[in-house]
């Protein structure tokens, strides 16, 4: 089970990489508007004629 000494730090690293990506997305303003994107899902793709 000594492998855990390697695995644990690596998984934690991955966790923090993911966190880093999240922080980047917050700073670049992607989470500023959480309401409108939810509503955009309802739009159909077909453009009007």
């Amino acid at each position: 089970m000594e492998i855990i000494f390697l695995l644990l730090p690596i998984s934690v690293l991955f966790a923090f990489l993911a966190l880093g990506a999240y922080l980047w997305s917050v700073r670049s303003g992607q989470l500023d508007d959480l309401e409108t994107p939810a509503v955009r899902v309802l739009f159909d793709d077909d453009e009007q004629q």
């Binding site: 999240y22 500023d32 309401e35 309802l42 009007q48």
Partner: protein, 813 residues
């Protein structure tokens, strides 16, 4: 059978039909739209191939849209100085501009507005934010002017308001991002420490090799660090700052719990033996941050400002230059200039009438429900509404020197004086803090004497389990949910302390016009009118702008209009014309009839005298120079007023009325609601209302509906604005109610505030109980990390559910 089919069948057989565009109920069978505005928008939308709008709207939460506001001039957007304030130059000659759209509210709105680039030449991108109610457009000003763009949006039903810096809050953005980042970090730390502690807890039962134990302990300590040092920093800051001012804030026990627990757990890890609570600590940080964020978010959305001084003062006016009238920005207009104000426009200046006659609606400033006659020599005020005639006005004051300007200025300067939140909840938290600290010290000392090794761990477990988590969520969770629910039903709570002051208040002051009454004229009496209703209706519809005409039209709405030979509208007086068989006919004011010396039969004259002595408005109809019938109109009581006032009385609240309308009129309304004369005051200007309230102690509530109430609202303990025509009252009001049912909405809010208070107490009681039990267990030495890890989130969950499940603003039957 297709369900959809039977639904439409059902709708057609029902007698209530609605406007195809704005969905307000229609008064007659054969119409498809409620007004020309809706019809125009409907056709515009279809002709642009955007009928998907209606399909989309049907599928989403269908709250009726408002009726299309009358078209106004956006010419001011062509002024380079003004457009520079609201737009930004982009590379490749494009311009980015932001507008605030007060009427936006659903998915279909977003869809149609984001289709603008496809229907308008020159607009390259359009992005809407439902949360803030704003639209961001990129356009090429060579192909399309801002003025055209704004007019087009208006024609679709979304009159745009320029978004100056005060509307785009970069401060709010910063706070939101800060919250989200801290929550994210806390979440990751909590999740990972929880995983590790899962193993650690298992190890109590099954045992674990010491090297792995060390690894997991150290790993937990390190992973928890970012949460403790960075995510929780706001707690430390506020605890410290309130401590320095000598007050005790709930963030103090929170900060102590976190720091003390972490440091001793770290010590435990270094020394290699004992229990650690890293997962409870990080979970505490995460949950508390989440609660704070929910509360802040709900509050900032309720505060969405619709303040628009742009709406009140036209930005340009038509000034006489030589023999022509030229459009000029308001800043360039001076005392002595002559401005032209056309029907259905707002008067831009304080001044006196030089030429023309019209009816002027000054309810904005005085609350007077009846429009007043204005002719050469009469004084007029800026911000009031010119109804039906053209007026040439000699300018006396402009801008901040007008009466309205002064009122707006005084609102702005008093903006910051909101009452600090001295909730009882905080007081209780204060006592709690002190008790827990005292208890921890006592606990430590006692255990040290009994069994020194156990002293520290037990004290730490005491701090962790009495975690102010439940207590820290008791208020934010319920306030957040209450605010969010309020917003959904149309109650915008801008100042949360108002919710705690409202149930406590004793004295309730009400405005009359628009608050206790509908603010609209309706026919309350008539004489001899049956035979003539069809003619009356035709004449009334000919001058549909006037409140009297509207009231007469509604009164005669079940009758078919009779044809007329011809007719002519006479500004400020009425409508005159010829019947199909050539007789003269006119409908209008008493004054006009007297001017033209039209004969009035004695029985009608007697009725007129009676009505006028009750200060009602009268309208007469003559045929062939002989008065044949007459109507009395007055402001009618709001359908819910009686019920609400009785309910308030049964709650033993004191009810008073302050109004700008004439004393006898206000007295009459007061009587019908069972309120004595001694507490009714009429003929008050806005600043006089304010003075009355200033003389009172803080437990007052003022309920009003317009700008003329704004100063009073600020002076009262709690200022409540019912949706009126002017959104600027929102700036001054602590609570803004747009539920659509007027004073009923106010009552629901009062009940909601009482319910919120009840729930907060319930939460506090529960968390105190939980803490007592937890503390007992901890002091007795029974609290292990497992128990702490279970109890703490459980207590938070219970508080959250207790806050989130109830309905705060139920519609009472």
């Amino acid at each position: 059978m297709n369900v959809a089919e039977s639904d439409t069948q059902k709708q057609e057989s029902q007698s209530v039909r609605i406007c195809a565009h704005c969905r307000t109920p229609l008064s007659t069978r054969d119409e498809k739209f409620c007004c020309g505005g809706c019809e125009l928008v409907f056709n515009t939308i279809h002709s642009l191939g955007l009928s998907g709008f209606y399909k989309l709207r049907a599928g989403t939460d269908g709250e009726g849209t408002e009726q299309i506001p009358t078209l106004k001039s956006y010419a001011y957007l062509s002024d380079p100085e003004i457009s520079a304030q609201i737009s930004k130059e982009l590379p490749n000659k494009l311009t980015e501009v932001r507008f605030y759209l007060p009427t936006i509210h659903c998915a279909a709105c977003v869809w149609i507005l984001e289709k603008l680039p496809f229907v308008l030449e020159g607009v390259s991108s359009s992005r809407v934010s439902l949360a803030t109610g704003q639209i961001e457009l990129v356009l090429d000003q060579q192909s399309i002017s801002l003025e055209k763009l704004a007019s087009f949006m208006h024609s679709l039903g979304y009159p745009p308001v320029p978004a100056t810096d005060s509307l785009i809050s970069s401060e709010d953005k910063r706070i939101k991002r800060s919250f989200l980042m801290r929550i994210g970090v806390a979440a990751v730390c909590a999740a990972n420490t929880m995983m590790l502690s899962d193993s650690l807890i298992e190890s109590f039962f099954t045992g674990m090799e010491p090297e792995f134990l060390t690894l997991f302990m150290w790993a937990s300590a390190i992973i928890a660090l970012p949460a403790v040092i960075w995510s929780a920093a706001p707690f430390y800051r506020s605890a410290l700052s309130t401590l320095l001012t000598g007050r005790v804030h709930i963030d103090l026990p929170i900060s102590i719990a976190i720091i003390a627990s972490y440091s001793t757990d770290l010590f435990t890890v270094i020394s290699g033996r004992g229990h650690v609570y890293f997962d409870s600590i990080t979970c505490l940080i995460f949950l508390l941050l989440l609660g704070r964020y929910a509360q802040w978010n709900a509050l900032s959305r309720s505060r969405a400002s619709t303040a628009t001084t742009w709406d009140l003062f036209p930005v340009t006016a038509r000034v006489k230059v030589g023999s022509d009238f030229v459009d000029k920005p308001l800043q360039e207009i001076h005392a002595g200039d002559v401005v032209l104000v056309r029907p259905e426009e707002r008067i831009p200046v304080d001044g006196s009438v030089y030429a023309g006659t019209s009816m002027v609606d000054s309810s904005l400033l005085t609350g007077e429900s009846l429009p007043q006659h204005a002719q050469a020599g009469d004084a007029v005020l800026g911000g009031t509404f010119n109804i039906d005639g053209s007026l040439e006005i000699v300018v006396q004051y402009t801008g901040v020197q007008t009466r309205l300007g002064k009122v707006l200025e005084s609102i702005k300067t008093h903006q910051g004086n909101t009452i600090p939140i001295e909730d009882q909840a905080n007081k209780i938290s204060g006592y709690f803090t002190v008790s827990v600290l005292g208890l921890s010290v006592a606990c430590f000392v006692i255990w040290y004497l009994i069994d020194p090794i156990k002293a520290l761990p037990i004290t730490i477990s005491l701090l962790v389990i009495t975690c102010p988590c439940a207590l820290g969520l008791a208020v934010p969770a319920s306030v957040a949910v209450a605010l969010a629910q309020a917003r959904k039903v149309g109650v915008y709570i801008r100042n949360p302390s108002a919710m705690s002051l409202l149930p406590e208040a004793r004295k309730f002051y009400f405005d009359k016009t628009g608050t206790l009454t509908t603010g609209k004229l309706s026919v309350s009496d008539e004489i001899d009118s049956e035979k003539y209703l069809s003619l009356v209706r035709r004449l009334a519809r000919a001058s549909a702008r006037h409140p009297v005409s509207l009231a007469l039209d509604v009164f005669a709405s079940s009758i078919e209009e009779a044809p007329l030979g011809s007719y002519r509208h006479v500004g400020g007086k009425g409508v005159e014309g010829y019947t199909v068989d050539g007789r003269t006919i006119s409908l209008g004011s008493y004054r006009w009839f007297i001017e033209r010396q039209i004969f009035i039969p004695e029985h009608i004259g007697a009725a007129l005298d009676r009505w006028l002595s009750h200060t009602m408005t009268v309208s007469l109809l003559e045929i062939d120079k002989r008065t044949v019938c007459a109507f009395a109109l007055s402001d009618s009581l709001h359908p819910h007023s009686q019920k609400v006032i009785s309910a308030l009385k049964s709650l033993r609240k004191e009810i008073l009325i302050l109004s700008g309308d004439a004393q006898p009129v206000v007295n009459a309304i007061g009587h019908s609601l069972g309120i004595e004369n001694s507490v009714i005051r009429g003929d008050l200007y806005p600043w006089q209302k304010r003075d009355v309230l200033r003389g009172e102690l803080s437990q007052t509530v003022y309920v009003g509906d317009g700008l003329n109430d704004a100063q009073a609202m600020q002076a009262a303990g709690v200022g409540i604005a019912l949706k009126g025509g002017i959104e600027s009252a929102l700036e001054a009001a602590d609570i803004y109610i747009a539920t659509g049912d007027g004073i009923e909405g106010f009552y629901r809010t009062l009940r909601g505030a009482q319910k919120l208070k009840g729930i907060i107490y319930r939460n506090l009681t529960f968390s105190l109980l939980y803490n007592v039990i937890g503390a007992t267990l901890a002091i007795a030495g029974y609290v292990t990390p497992l128990l702490a890890a279970i109890l703490m989130p459980l207590s938070s969950l219970i508080v959250i559910l207790s806050s989130a499940l109830p309905t705060y603003f139920r519609k009472e039957s």
